[in-house]
């Protein structure tokens, strides 16, 4: 089991009332599995992704990620877990604007003090996503699709155990979405990575092996996708 979520709730305390965003969530993800978390806006899917990836803290319950109890870890320990075991893909790409494509991809390995390996790996991944000739370009010199491909290369650069993707094609046109989706699943297969995608795009969700449907902060269904 690479990810185990038990009785997790997230409540925002307001001045007069509290707001429950996630309520008693339970599920687990096996190694190599691909899972889509779907739901309408405000259903709590991005909050759930943040909790699973150790970006946020749950109000109650327990999350185990790659054999780590996230609730028991300090912020620094969680950062280390993210660096070693997790890859991220965001709707808004989230590339560092001051770094070139190459440097963005190198960054996760450099953070692990693997600078020598980083350059080689980044080059290989950028060529793999078709950006071998754009390595020294800054994010604002790249199109949206190209930025997301750099983001994909970065996500796989540290050979993560699990990849979290938040609406990875949400900001892209249909044609580019197809290219990025294909790359995402191909790379995932090549690296045998567990994939958790948050999306409201059912077409994309159906490309995974399992769909967890959220509504009002609760899991409504958790089903395998028929091949």
């Amino acid at each position: 089991m690479i990810l185990e979520v038990s009785e997790v709730s997230k409540v925002y305390e307001g001045v007069n009332r509290s707001l429950t965003v996630l309520d008693d969530i339970n599920f687990s993800v096996e190694e190599g599995e691909t899972v889509a978390i779907v739901g309408a806006s405000g259903s709590g899917k991005t909050t759930l992704l943040g909790l699973c990836a150790g970006l946020d803290v749950s109000s109650s319950g327990e999350i185990r990620l790659v054999n780590h109890h996230l609730n028991l870890l300090s912020e620094n320990d969680k950062a280390e877990v993210r660096n070693k075991h997790i890859g991220f893909i965001f709707q808004n790409f989230q590339l560092l604007p001051t770094l070139t494509a190459m440097e963005n991809v190198m960054l996760p390995l450099e953070l692990q003090d693997k600078a020598a390996e980083a350059g080689h790996k980044a080059k290989e991944l950028l060529e793999r996503v078709g950006l071998g000739d754009r390595m020294n370009h800054y994010p604002n010199q790249l199109s949206g699709g190209e930025q997301q491909r750099v983001s994909l290369a970065r996500a796989f650069s540290n050979t993560p155990d699990i990849l979290f993707a938040d609406e990875p094609t949400g900001n892209l046109d249909d044609e580019t979405s197809v290219v990025v989706e294909k790359l995402l699943f191909d790379l995932n297969k090549e690296h045998n990575t567990t994939l958790v995608i948050v999306t409201h795009d059912m077409e994309l969700a159906r490309k995974t092996s399992r769909i967890i449907r959220l509504k009002g902060g609760k899991i409504m269904t958790d089903e395998k996708v028929k091949a």
Partner: protein, 840 residues
């Protein structure tokens, strides 16, 4: 993470954003430049005091007395081996017959080879005025009256030919020379002037040049107390050095304080620039965090960037400061008794860099440490905001360190813990008031928000309290700058006004002194002929204090338990007599008895401050030596004396019936209607009575104005740093608000707000901020100048509101203009372009 990687990431991260830190750098550059320039100037000044102290004094030992040296003391002085010169100096009127002009001058009658070190700068060079009846006259005075070498100058009853120009009078500061320029003559010709009369203000000086094997300081140390107890002074080169260093350390401390305030203002700029920078980097930091960097590592990436830029800035600042110091001697030329050679001061540069770096980094740390807490969750939700702890220990430690650093700097400057603590407290107080006002403003606007006003006013007003508002930063930075400037204007204006008020209305504006008894009536006739009132005609008798409360002065001097102050004991008493107290004085204890019959006890009246210094009270006995005759008196009353007019006032007032027959001279006080009458009256008096001196308020005012304008020029030069830095802080603070407001302005533009509406909203917001900041600054200035004027200068406090109104309008106007310039981008460019430019 390895240190190398932190540096690498710091470098990478900064490379496309360094321009954004130009404001950050420029404020540090200016702050450090001010500090280095002032300190370099000071160190050069002190070094040159050491180098030139000997030529400033002109001799190894100098003896000063305000009466001729008695035989006993002359013998002691003559026991010193080596050469000897004597000088008699007095204030008197000089008359220039060719120019038909008269001038109040300081006559110095010299005999001997003085100066032994350095020389008088004269034209012709090495001009000898001692062996003939020739005068060496101050160059400025000759220029003023268009007089030349070969013309005549009448001093008392004697006429001298002007033989030379005195280009530089060493050892004296230029400031007073406009009021009483120096005229040198030979000592042997002084008697022919007949200027030395009973009551004349004469200084007697003996200069000695000793050999190398004689230690003047040791000699002085053994005899100084004896000389001092008898009203004389001994000066040596070492003593002169200490005096000069002390005198200039006050000037330097003052300038350093201005530099410190500039640096603190700069640091507010630093804090706001770093805040802008960090806010711009929030998304990058969140990504770093998301990819596995911990909070401290993220912090260090930005700490390294800021440290590198701060270091670069202080280096540039130190270089500019070293260049500026070249101009400081020109600015302070009039205050220096000698020329200062400017050299590179590595000590000043080192200190400037160190202080600049420490204070800058401490202030930069305040916004920087928040980087540690930026959540990686911002990658998923850009609107996410971290919860701020009520108490962040690190943040409060930094605040503590800032206070400690300021205190340390002030302590090293003043060398006194208490003064440093008071000043640090004052600065914290000023900051506190400004922050307090900002908080009250925010609270009041929110509490009493006018919901029925039109949209533009509401929008502008609400910007004062909405999240990420700049109300606090702007009120503090603009307010502090305004406070410094306004204090300067108020104090300068008040000093001048207090002096000019002396001659206003029916107050006297001209005083004649040194009048002999036989000249008294004729002088009164001349005065009345000019249609001028005889406001005061007072006799003056000089006498010495012989003893009091049953002991002689000598016995008191040896009494280690005495409470009387030395200045009160040694002061030569200038006493008057009258049947009534002056209308300017107020009897505060006892009763004034205006007349005494022969054989009765004599009850005199004392000025309250002098009585306090001598530690005598009502009924105490005081014995006077009136030119050889002992006169026993009792304290009959105490008076509070008003010093704020040009009339004569006396600490010691005798009743009529005691001193009428003692040798005396008189003072006449009058009021001239205009400058032309003053000149004509002065010329007639000087020609008829060359021994009478005239001082008119007009010339005092001209001199004072001259001094104050030179002083304010120097202060303004330094204040320019504060103002410039204030402007930079203002711009950087507004940049910060631009960063906050740009999205909503663009959104408003997108949904159809026209240029005029956005500009008006900005005018309301910045107008309010400018007005509130300058009002608070003016309030602080009023309080601080009240304290300064009342307790330091001891003058009347009243304010001229017009210049303050001008400051208010100017500061508010500049704030609005910079605010509008800031929003130019938003109103002139298409919204999409701006959004793209400001994207992370």
């Amino acid at each position: 993470m390895k240190t190398g990687l932190l540096f690498k990431n710091a470098f990478r991260d900064s490379r496309r954003d360094r321009g954004k830190l130009i404001l950050f750098m420029s404020s540090i550059v200016l702050g450090v430049a001010a500090l280095v320039a002032i300190n370099s100037f000071n160190y050069n000044l002190v070094r040159d005091i050491d180098r030139q102290a000997k030529s400033l004094l002109g001799a190894d030992l100098v003896f000063e007395n305000n009466k001729p040296f008695e035989e006993e003391w002359l013998n002691v002085i003559d026991s010193v081996p080596g050469e000897k010169s004597t000088e008699v100096a007095l204030l008197s009127m000089a008359y220039l017959p060719q120019q038909e002009a008269s001038q109040f001058v300081r006559i110095k009658a010299l005999e001997g080879g003085f100066p032994y070190y350095g020389k008088l700068l004269t034209e012709p060079e090495n001009f000898d005025f001692q062996s003939q009846q020739l005068a060496l006259v101050d160059d400025g005075m000759l220029l003023q009256y268009n007089a030349a070498i070969g013309d005549s100058i009448k001093l008392g009853k004697a006429t001298f030919k002007i033989g030379g120009r005195l280009k530089s009078s060493f050892g004296s500061v230029d400031i007073g020379s406009g009021f009483a320029p120096v005229v040198y003559i030979g000592r042997s010709y002084l008697d022919s002037t007949d200027l030395i009369q009973p009551g004349s203000l004469v200084d007697y000086t003996i200069y000695r040049k000793t050999g190398d094997d004689f230690d003047p300081d040791e000699w002085r140390m053994l005899r100084n107390d004896d000389f001092r107890d008898n009203g004389m002074r001994i000066q040596t080169v070492e003593g002169q050095k200490e005096n000069l260093e002390e005198a200039f350390s006050s000037l330097n401390n003052f300038l350093n304080l201005i530099a410190l305030v500039s640096l603190l203002l700069a640091c507010i700029g630093v804090a706001s620039s770093v805040l802008i920078y960090v806010k711009n980097k929030v998304k990058s930091i969140a990504i770093f965090r998301c990819l596995g960097m911990n909070g401290n590592e993220a912090f260090f990436i930005y700490f390294i960037q800021i440290l590198a830029l701060a270091f670069l800035s202080v280096l540039i600042g130190a270089a500019i400061g070293s260049a500026i110091q070249v101009f400081l001697p020109i600015v302070f030329e009039s205050f220096l008794p000698y020329s200062v050679e400017m050299e590179m001061s590595w000590r000043a540069i080192g200190e400037g860099i160190l202080v600049g770096l420490i204070i800058t980094m401490l202030f930069a740390l305040v916004p920087l440490i928040r980087v540690r807490n930026i959540s990686p969750l911002r990658t998923l939700r850009s609107s996410y905001e971290e919860e701020r702890n009520q108490f962040d220990r690190v943040e409060w430690t930094i605040y503590g360190l800032i206070v400690l650093a300021i205190f340390g700097f002030l302590w090293s400057l003043m060398g006194n813990l208490k003064d440093a603590a008071v000043f640090t407290g004052g600065l914290i107080g000023a900051f506190g008031i400004l922050f307090g006002v900002a908080r009250i403003v925010i609270w009041m606007v929110r509490r009493f928000f006018p919901r029925n006003w039109n949209f533009i006013l509401r929008q502008g007003l609400s910007n004062l309290y909405r999240p990420n508002n700049q109300t606090r930063t702007l009120i503090v930075s603009i307010g502090l700058g305004t406070a410094i400037l306004t204090t300067l204007f108020i104090v300068q204006g008040l000093i001048l006004k207090n002096v000019s008020d002396m001659g206003a209305g029916n107050q006297a504006n001209t005083i004649l002194f040194g009048i002999e008894t036989k000249q008294k009536d004729e002088l009164a006739d001349i005065t009345e002929r000019y249609g001028m009132p005889l406001m005061q005609q007072t006799p003056i008798i000089t006498m010495d204090l012989y003893g009091w409360k049953g002991k002689t002065k000598q016995e008191w001097l040896q009494d280690t338990a005495r409470t009387a102050r030395r200045w009160a004991m040694n002061r030569e008493a200038r006493v008057s007599y009258s049947d009534t107290v002056s209308r300017n004085d107020k009897v505060i204890a006892g009763e004034y008895i205006g007349k005494v019959e022969p054989g009765d006890s004599i009850f005199i009246s004392l000025g309250e401050s002098w009585a306090r210094s001598l530690d005598v009270g009502l009924g105490d006995e005081i014995v006077w030596n009136v030119q050889g005759a002992l006169v026993k008196t009792y304290v009959g009353s105490l008076r509070e004396i008003n010093f704020r007019n040009l009339e004569t006032r006396f600490f010691i007032l005798f009743p009529e019936g005691v001193l009428e027959d003692a040798p005396q001279f008189h003072v006449l006080v009058t009021k001239t209607p205009d400058a032309e009458t003053t000149a004509a009256y002065r010329n007639e008096v000087v020609q008829k009575f060359p021994n009478v001196s005239i001082i008119d308020l007009g010339s005092i005012l001209v001199t004072l104005n001259d001094i104050l304008s030179k002083l304010s020029y120097a202060i303004q030069f330094m204040a320019a740093f504060s103002i410039l830095i204030g402007m930079i802080v203002l711009i950087s603070s507004l940049f910060l608000s631009k960063f906050q407001r740009i999205n909503e302005s663009v959104l408003m533009r997108t949904i159809g707000a026209v240029k005029k509406q956005i500009l008006r909203i900005n005018i309301v917001e910045y107008g309010l901020l400018g007005a509130l900041s300058s009002l608070t600054g003016i309030f602080i200035a009023l309080v601080s100048s009240f304290l300064l004027v009342k307790f330091v200068f001891e003058l009347n406090f009243n304010v001229q509101w017009i210049p303050i109104l001008v400051i208010f309008v100017l500061v508010t106007g500049i704030t609005i203009l910079i605010g509008l310039a800031n929003s130019r981008e938003v109103v002139n460019k298409p919204p999409l372009e701006i959004l793209r430019d400001n994207q992370v």
